[in-house]
Amino acid sequence: MNETPHRTPQEIVDLYKAEFGAGIHDARITERGEGVQKTKGYNIWIRLDRNLLKPAIKKLMDIRFPHLAVIAGNDLGTEIELLYIFSVFYGTKFGEYMVTIGIRLPKTDLTVPTITDLIPGALISEREKQEFFGITVTGIPDGRRLFLPDDFPQGVYPWRKDETGIKPEMVRELWAIDRPKDRPVPPVPEKPVPEKKPVEEVPAAEGKEKKTGGAPE
């Protein structure tokens, strides 16, 4: 299956531009080479109209069945940007590209259709975006919370940067928290016996170069 031709990053961008035309707001390719030979890896970034999300993903599936890494998001002030991060052409030696499809949702209408009918594995990421960004995924087969506990307050979305984000009173600075007052004070160990210990350690360190031990995980 999936024996579609391999394409260059520019060809993929051209395919999108031909199909969606003015619906594409921004399309660019970034590259990066590391190591000695600096073999290039390519990332494709496509940002388009929100109603083109599912056609754009279907298009990618026609090019080659992609792997969905995750749905990431940005709070841009008046809008939430969702980035569907895929990779295509895995299994090809250094021929895989990341393809990121981005849409923007105004905070007045934070709904996005589910893509689990196309890629069932997107469910985890969609559930996470619902609870962390406060968006609504329409048609999601399972809309329960994923990572946040049941007693986490409703209407608070940890990755938002507006008034619905984590409130200052919810943050407890670890350094400011003293020991609990309602528990017995732990026994404070006696001061270690001085002088004897270093004398013991020195010959051991000399005799054996490699130190064994160390704290177990």
Binding site: E34, A69, A72, L83, K93
Partner: protein, 414 residues
């Protein structure tokens, strides 16, 4: 957990967790059982969610690198490497080639110790505790190497934005090579004890099957996907660090063992073969190690100033022992990144549990759950509710005992 755990008729609801039957990782399972057979599976992670991304969005990248070291206790380098690679792309920082090679060596050492750790856990779940002890004894060599190179067994603190913080000296090379020789001599033995044992084969062959199609649709990654025949390995597909210079191929279950079936046995094979692959990768890196600097910029204030000016977004991804690990970072000219999304490998593999566990027996749950090498966090008891009675509690020990008893029954048949 759903509220209907007191349902009277079959299927029985068996909650397992939030502490875990297999690894010391918390995840809540709810199984619908008909007799001994799993009919449906539901799970709820999140019991170890620490809000690290939220913390990161209030810190500068150099601080976050040390935070990423602590995302996982076993994968000490993959998160810091993914994050550093994303930030380096945004700030257009060129990493010296020598640092790329050192990153690769540690990356592979980490894969070896992680797979050996997993092999021990798998042996324990199957009831072979002497094999657990042997695997973990053997693992110590790679831990010693990591300690020798970084100074730590966990939380290595080796990756810095723009390179690594410690070089590999000429004195350390023979130590690494000794370690590699040690593992080369052991591989055949490990293959024999894990793969030629008829009991392990009966417990693992055709159990916990994930088909090729399901692996694709459910976005599985790493050994879990490769055992199902999906040739997906970031090291082979997408050049990063020194892998662009090397010849790495995704390890699929070979024909001699019956080709990819996507079962627990195939996942054991893939991990064992990957240990052999890692040895060769480290050897190649040592042989071709370039000379030169290990950091793009040693002076932290200068590095921080560059990072503060950086604007843009990037994806850093690496092949962690469990599969693709990916960080998305967006910076907008402030100290802290505007967005940071961490996608660990188990995040992608969670959904695979559902087809794997369906139709399996209660006693097979531990090894199947462990077979994706889940990375979440700790175990203690399981409650089983049958016929609407008061919950009977199954401790982790009892569930493991069920698994061990099944192994003994199979052993008696041979």
């Amino acid at each position: 957990m759903n509220g209907d755990t007191t349902k009277k008729s079959t299927p029985y609801t068996v909650p397992i967790g939030p502490v875990h039957p297999a690894l010391k990782e918390p995840v809540m399972f709810t199984f619908q059982m008909e007799g001994e057979v799993v009919k449906s599976v539901d799970f709820a992670p999140g019991n170890a969610h620490r809000g690290i991304e939220w913390m990161g969005m209030r810190r500068n990248p150099v601080q976050i690198v040390h935070l990423t070291d602590r995302i996982c206790g076993i994968c000490g380098i993959v998160h810091s490497l993914s994050f550093a690679r994303a930030v380096e792309q945004i700030a257009e920082i060129e990493v010296p080639p020598r640092a790329d090679y050192i990153r690769t060596i540690l990356h592979e050492l980490e894969r070896m110790q992680s797979h050996l750790l997993w092999a021990g856990v798998a042996a324990h779940e199957l009831g072979f505790d002497s094999l657990l002890f042997l695997s973990w004894r053997v693992r110590e060599q790679s831990m010693d190497l990591i300690e020798n190179l970084t100074g730590n067994r966990v939380n290595y603190g080796i990756v810095q934005i723009g390179g690594v913080r410690r070089d590999i000296s000429d004195d350390q090379r023979p130590i690494i090579e000794q370690g590699l020789a040690y593992y080369r001599g052991l591989l055949d033995q490990m293959k024999t004890v894990f793969l030629d044992d008829s009991t392990i084969r009966s417990r693992c062959r055709d159990h916990g099957v994930l088909t090729y199609r399901d692996a694709q649709l459910l976005c599985a990654v790493g050994p879990t996907a490769r055992a199902s025949g999906v040739a997906l390995d970031v090291r082979h597909d997408y050049p990063y660090c020194a892998y662009g210079d090397l010849d790495v191929h995704p390890v699929l279950p070979p024909q001699e063992f019956g080709g990819p079936k996507g079962d627990v046995y195939d996942r054991i094979i893939v991990r064992l073969l990957e240990i052999a692959q890692s040895i060769e990768i480290i050897q190649q890196c040592l042989d071709n190690m370039p000379t030169g600097e290990i950091l793009w910029e040693k002076k932290l204030p200068k590095l921080l100033l560059t990072l503060k000016k950086a604007q843009g977004e990037a994806i850093g991804r690496v092949e962690a022992p469990r599969g693709e690990c990916m960080h998305y970072v967006r910076m907008d000219g402030n100290d802290a990144p505007a967005s940071w999304k961490v996608k660990a490998s188990t995040y992608s593999n969670l959904m695979s549990w559902i087809p794997m566990l369906k139709g399996e027996q209660l006693a097979d749950i531990p090894i199947i759950v462990a077979s994706i090498d889940p990375c979440m966090s700790c175990t203690d008891r399981v409650s089983v509710i049958r016929d609407g009675g008061s919950p009977g509690y199954l401790t982790k020990e009892e569930l493991t005992r069920l698994s061990i008893e099944k192994t003994r029954r199979i052993e008696q048949c041979h």
